[in-house]
């Protein structure tokens, strides 16, 4: 691995991630649950956000040619 040569990732930060990931897991799980409950009760709003979801869409990856390079 090259990265070892490169910069100090912070040992504390590496250890802490286990905890941070666990908390994030719990938060995501509960938010998901709330979302499903709201969805069931018909309480969800459409968010017309300027920001996309985290997933890269397949349609974005596939079809484009190099023609729009410049």
């Amino acid at each position: 691995m090259i990265q070892i040569l490169y910069f100090d990732p912070g040992l504390g930060a590496l250890i802490l991630q286990v905890l941070a990931a666990a908390i994030a897991g719990v938060v995501l799980f509960s938010k998901n649950l709330m979302y499903k409950i709201k969805l069931f009760l018909g309480m969800t709003k459409n968010d017309d956000d300027v920001f996309d979801d985290i997933d890269v869409k397949d349609s974005d990856i596939e079809s484009k040619s190099h023609s729009d390079d410049k």
């Binding site: 691995m1 090259i2 990265q3 040569l5 490169y6 910069f7 990732p9 912070g10 040992l11 504390g12 930060a13 590496l14 250890i15 802490l16 991630q17 286990v18 905890l19 941070a20 990931a21 666990a22 908390i23 994030a24 897991g25 719990v26 938060v27 995501l28 938010k31 956000d49 300027v50 920001f51 996309d52 985290i54 997933d55 890269v56 869409k57 974005d60 990856i61 596939e62 079809s63 484009k64 190099h66 390079d69 410049k70």
Partner: protein, 461 residues
């Protein structure tokens, strides 16, 4: 191949470096990184990120056993994190997380998460450090996690709780805002949120506790890929929902102007006809608010830099261009009284605003309703502002609000007993001073207002 033109910002990562060859930016890849590079290329990973517009496109221009050279797509004007508005910063943070998730799913991982790996280009934030990917090792934590917090999450939280000006701290902390400082600057209530407590406050404690482990005795923990994905997704969802506490609805600025709609339209017409007359392709609008006047130009522009000191104005511009999918607009936060300086090692890692704008040399500079602020709030003499404007564009479209203009009167009143020191603020003096650097091409009064529009051409030196 050329190796002696190594760019002065390119020394941190041993995988390769950037160099300038006949004015073009190229990237040299060292054999140390060949394995990763070949895999990124052959697996189609680069191609996918290019197609999705997430990573800057590049072409391989030469390959030997000792060096591979690639040439990335040209970026006409770079902006840095300390010049982004809150939502631009947010987009850069989300882009980093999105790429990391995508990388993990394809067996790679971002080895760094510097905010300087990203810039605004073609209407969106784009990742520009092609060599930031390494192989993902099963069950290892994300080495760039701390960097992500100190470069992205932390600054965004500071902006949320302490105002968007906090983002300018990145100018002083080129390698991220120290975690301890982040923790101390955020309000107590952030400790009550388990997500913020772990990612900020506990991180600062852990970093403090382990920073004297010079021998590497403490063993770095294992983290499953699923857990890491949870962390990435958790950060993504949190950041996506972040808003500024101070945020006010933008869009009412032009309701507050002191002139009538007809005058507003006339001003737009004048600008439009001058820009068309000059066949300008590139402009910078200094104090351009949300880009209103640039959008009234009917000439097709290649790139319009629109900068303003007000984060909310830049954000409004950003949101508008996202909705309309404009690619020629480049909004950024800019204080004309204190443009970004050269910073970093040897003062050469990040270029000053002046260096970048001189290299870009926009065809026309627009300075609308800005000279009275520079002169009366900033105390900048006319000669000095003229020299500034003459240093990067051949043409200057400048609006001069006369002494009787209500805004000018308001600014003069704030000067109290020193008001008399600003007696020089007249259209006549303005003209005399600016004629040292420029020739007047055209001059038009905006009807029913106290404002004059000038089209100036820089004198040949």
């Amino acid at each position: 191949m050329t190796t002696n033109n190594r760019h002065s910002s390119s020394f941190r990562d041993p995988s390769g470096f950037i160099f300038v060859d006949q004015g073009l930016i190229k990237r040299s890849i060292s054999p140390l990184y060949f394995e990763q590079y070949f895999k990124l290329k052959s697996s189609g990973f680069f191609e996918k990120l290019h197609n999705a517009g997430l990573l800057i496109r590049h072409e391989e221009i030469s390959a030997s056993e000792s060096e591979i050279n690639i040439q990335p797509e040209h970026i006409p004007f770079f902006t840095y994190p300390y010049e982004w508005s809150f939502n631009q910063y947010k987009e850069a943070a989300l882009l980093t997380l999105k790429i990391q998730k995508f990388a993990l799913e394809h067996g790679f991982s971002l080895k760094d998460a510097s905010a300087f790996n990203i810039t605004f280009h073609n209407g969106r934030m784009v990742f520009i450090d092609t060599l930031s990917f390494d192989f993902y090792q099963e069950n290892t934590p994300w080495r760039a996690y701390k960097q992500f917090i100190t470069h992205f999450f932390g600054p965004l939280l500071l902006a949320k709780y302490n105002g968007a000006e906090s983002l300018k701290l990145m100018n002083s902390f080129i390698d991220g805002i120290p975690s301890k400082m982040l923790s101390s600057m955020l309000p107590y209530k952030t400790k009550l949120n388990p997500f913020l407590y772990t990612n900020i406050h506990l991180l600062a404690k852990y970093e403090d506790k382990h920073n004297e482990d010079y021998e590497g005795k403490s063993k770095a923990a294992n983290l499953s890929k699923k857990a890491q994905l949870n962390l990435i997704k958790g950060l993504y969802e949190f950041i996506k929902k972040m808003t500024l506490n101070e945020a006010s609805e933008w869009g009412n600025y032009y309701d507050k102007t002191n002139y009538e709609e007809a005058a507003f339209d006339q001003k737009a017409d004048i600008i439009n006809s001058w820009i068309q007359q000059l066949s300008a392709k590139t402009v910078i609008d200094i104090g351009g608010n949300d880009g209103t006047f640039v959008r009234k130009i009917h000439q097709e522009l290649d790139l319009a830099l629109v900068c303003d000191i007000d984060n909310n104005a830049v954000d409004a511009n950003f949101e508008y261009l996202k909705q309309k999918k404009e690619t020629h607009m480049l909004p950024f936060v800019f204080d004309v009284l204190n443009p970004s300086a050269n910073i970093g090692f040897n003062n050469k890692e990040r270029d000053s605003f002046l260096k970048r704008i001189k290299a870009f040399a926009p065809d026309v500079t627009m300075a609308l309703a800005v000279i009275h602020h520079m002169t009366l709030s900033g105390n900048i003499p006319f000669e000095m502002s003229a020299e500034f404007f003459a240093s990067f564009s051949e043409y200057l479209v400048i609006e001069f609000p006369k002494r009787n203009d209500s805004w000018v009167q308001r600014l003069l009143k704030t000067k109290g007993e020193f008001k008399d020191h600003f007696d020089f603020y007249t259209a006549e003096n303005f003209k005399t001073s600016y004629l040292r650097c420029f020739d007047i091409q055209e001059k038009l009064n905006i009807e029913n207002s106290e404002r004059i529009m000038f089209l100036l051409k820089r004198k040949d030196v």
